[in-house]
């Protein structure tokens, strides 16, 4: 496995990529780079252009503008077949042949990829999604979640360099979703590059090395914690048993505390530059002032807060 972000090691890159359907812009000016072995999350609200981006990178539709490199090959008509050989896509809807059994579905695809030894590969893929014992069942008889897993097994068959997963856990129960998460973790350890679109921010936060937030244009891109820090000042929340008589005297001038405000009569929010310095200093100052401290904690913003902040901005921007 190559280190993430090494120059020249990018598995996937897009520069100014854009797709229009007539007047409607599906996405535009999308520029990003995904390193080999990276799990890259692609987040965005409904209609943001995630699926269209996946289809464009997977050579199913032609970009209206911009360029891209997929699995080391420029996204051009003459490279389409070779690109498709190197990638696999798990589309938004499974698209299984419902009259064929699980195994027949996979066999067809194994041959479409011209795999030299299809049998063991099919078994390995079914094993990975824990469907070996349902292999002979017609896909039409499987539940939505099981179909989703067959679809994932199908995407694993060809040992792709890049795996595009378009909302792989939508509609899955929590256990099945966790299984998929573990599978993605396993693939990451094997060095597979994964491009994951999702609405589930907990999922993105847990699985992705980096995420991009798309809303027709890219709104932000980076590690989940970086995005958090960019958007939100770090804060400490202090709870005391009784209101402080003079909170300003306690908090002003403390090391690494940049601002403070009272949230209600017994809780205070401090804007801090370094939690490890500010927290002990605040506790000492509170004790010295004779306050009874109930708790001092860093308020953590989740990726969800980041996402909502960015996407809400867009909605407000549009209203204006």
């Amino acid at each position: 496995m190559q280190p993430v972000g090494e120059p020249g090691a990018s598995a996937l890159s897009a520069v100014g990529l854009c797709k229009r359907f007539g007047e409607r812009v599906a996405f535009e000016d999308v520029t990003f780079e995904v390193g080999r072995g990276e799990v890259f999350g692609f987040l965005g609200p409904n209609g943001a252009g995630k699926t269209t981006t996946v289809r464009t990178l997977a050579t199913l539709i032609k970009p209206s503008a911009g360029s891209a490199t997929v699995a080391g090959l420029p996204l051009r008509a003459e490279n389409e077949v070779e690109i498709r050989r190197r990638i696999a896509v798990m589309p938004e809807s499974p698209g299984l042949y419902l009259r064929l059994s699980v195994e027949e579905n996979l066999t067809c695809f194994a041959h479409l990829y011209e795999l030299p030894k299809p049998k063991p590969r099919i078994e390995a893929a079914l094993q990975a999604v824990r469907l070996l014992e349902r292999r002979a069942d017609p896909c039409g008889s499987l539940s939505k979640g099981l179909r989703q897993r067959v679809c994932l097994a199908r995407a694993l068959l060809s040992d792709p360099e890049i795996l595009f997963l378009d909302e792989p856990t939508s509609g899955l129960d929590p256990v099945a979703a966790r299984d998929v998460h573990e599978l993605i973790d396993g693939l990451r350890r094997q060095g597979v590059t994964i491009f994951l679109t999702t609405h589930r921010l907990d999922e993105a936060e847990r699985l992705c090395d980096r995420v991009a937030i798309l809303n027709t244009t890219l709104r932000s891109i980076g590690r989940p914690d970086e995005l958090r820090d960019q958007l939100f000042a770090r804060t400490l929340t202090v709870h005391t048993l009784a209101p402080l008589p003079e909170p300003g005297r306690v908090f002003e001038g403390l090391a690494c505390v940049e601002s403070w405000r009272a949230e209600d009569s017994t809780s205070y929010v401090l804007g801090v530059s370094d939690v490890t310095v500010a927290a002990p200093a605040a506790v000492r100052a509170l004790v010295a002032a004779g306050a009874d401290v109930l708790s001092v904690g860093e308020s953590r913003h989740s990726l969800q807060d980041v996402y909502l902040e960015l996407v809400d901005e867009d909605v407000e921007g549009r209203r204006r």
């Binding site: 997977a58 199913l60 070779e82 698209g95 042949y97 041959h111 479409l112 990829y113």
Partner: protein, 237 residues
């Protein structure tokens, strides 16, 4: 990277397995041959030998290779599109020519089998049960050879016409109706010859055969050119 027969076979094999499990295709395969074997049989068994001397009654049965594969091929692309199975297939390395050829072979094989089987049955019925005069009037070596050669030529035209329609329509039913319609001219010519309305001179037969052979050959290319990935994936569902 070159053309892959493995992928063509994978596509054809998948299609054939699906047909075997699709009730509507099985019933088409059963009903259409009946429609085309009954009129000539009734005619042969009720007419005098002299009335049968002109025309070639059994040519009417070319309706089987004209209609059966058209119905199957017309469903081939639009059907997958409606079921949402086209997108995953198109993300594999398959080329459109491979996909279409696989589907064409899958439509051709059962159609030929059915056409020859029913034609063989018709010949046997005439040989065994028709009057000696009628049998001599109907069973002519040249006509039998023509039928054997025309069956795949007609089926080929029906398949490419059906498939071309299939890549450009949004509704499987509409595609199947249009597909049948497009095969109709071939069948009408056959029917006119069958009942002696057109005299099938050697020149006419060779001309028709040659035209069909050319159409079968260019049909693959034309249909491939009509097959537009992006349109098939994105244009209105």
């Amino acid at each position: 990277m070159s053309f892959s027969w493995t992928r063509v076979r994978a596509m054809a094999g998948k299609e054939l397995t699906e047909y075997r499990r699709t009730g509507s295709i099985i019933s088409t395969m059963a009903v259409v041959p009946l429609v085309f074997i009954l009129p000539p049989m009734i005619e042969i068994f009720t007419s005098s030998a002299s009335a049968l001397a002109s025309g070639d009654r059994l040519i009417y049965m070319l309706g089987i290779p004209a209609i059966v594969p058209a119905v199957i091929a017309a469903y081939a692309v639009v059907g997958e599109r409606q079921q949402g199975t086209l997108e995953p297939v198109l993300t594999t390395p398959i080329r459109r020519e491979e996909l279409l050829l696989g589907k064409a072979i899958a439509a051709l094989a059962p159609s030929l089998l059915m056409s020859y089987l029913v034609y063989g049955l018709a010949l046997a019925l005439v040989e065994i049960f028709a009057s000696a005069g009628a049998a001599t009037a109907v069973l002519k070596g040249g006509e039998i050879i023509a039928q054997v050669i025309f069956t795949p030529l007609v089926a080929g035209w029906a398949i490419w016409a059906g498939m071309a329609i299939s890549t450009r329509t949004r509704d499987a039913r509409v595609a199947q109706q249009l597909g049948t319609l497009v095969s109709l001219p071939v069948f009408i010519v056959a029917a006119l010859i069958a009942f002696g309305a057109i005299h099938a001179s050697l020149g006419l037969v060779l001309g028709l055969g040659g035209a069909l052979a050319v159409l079968d050959f260019v049909g693959w290319r034309v249909t491939s050119a009509l097959f537009d990935r992006e349109r098939l994936i994105t244009a209105g569902k």
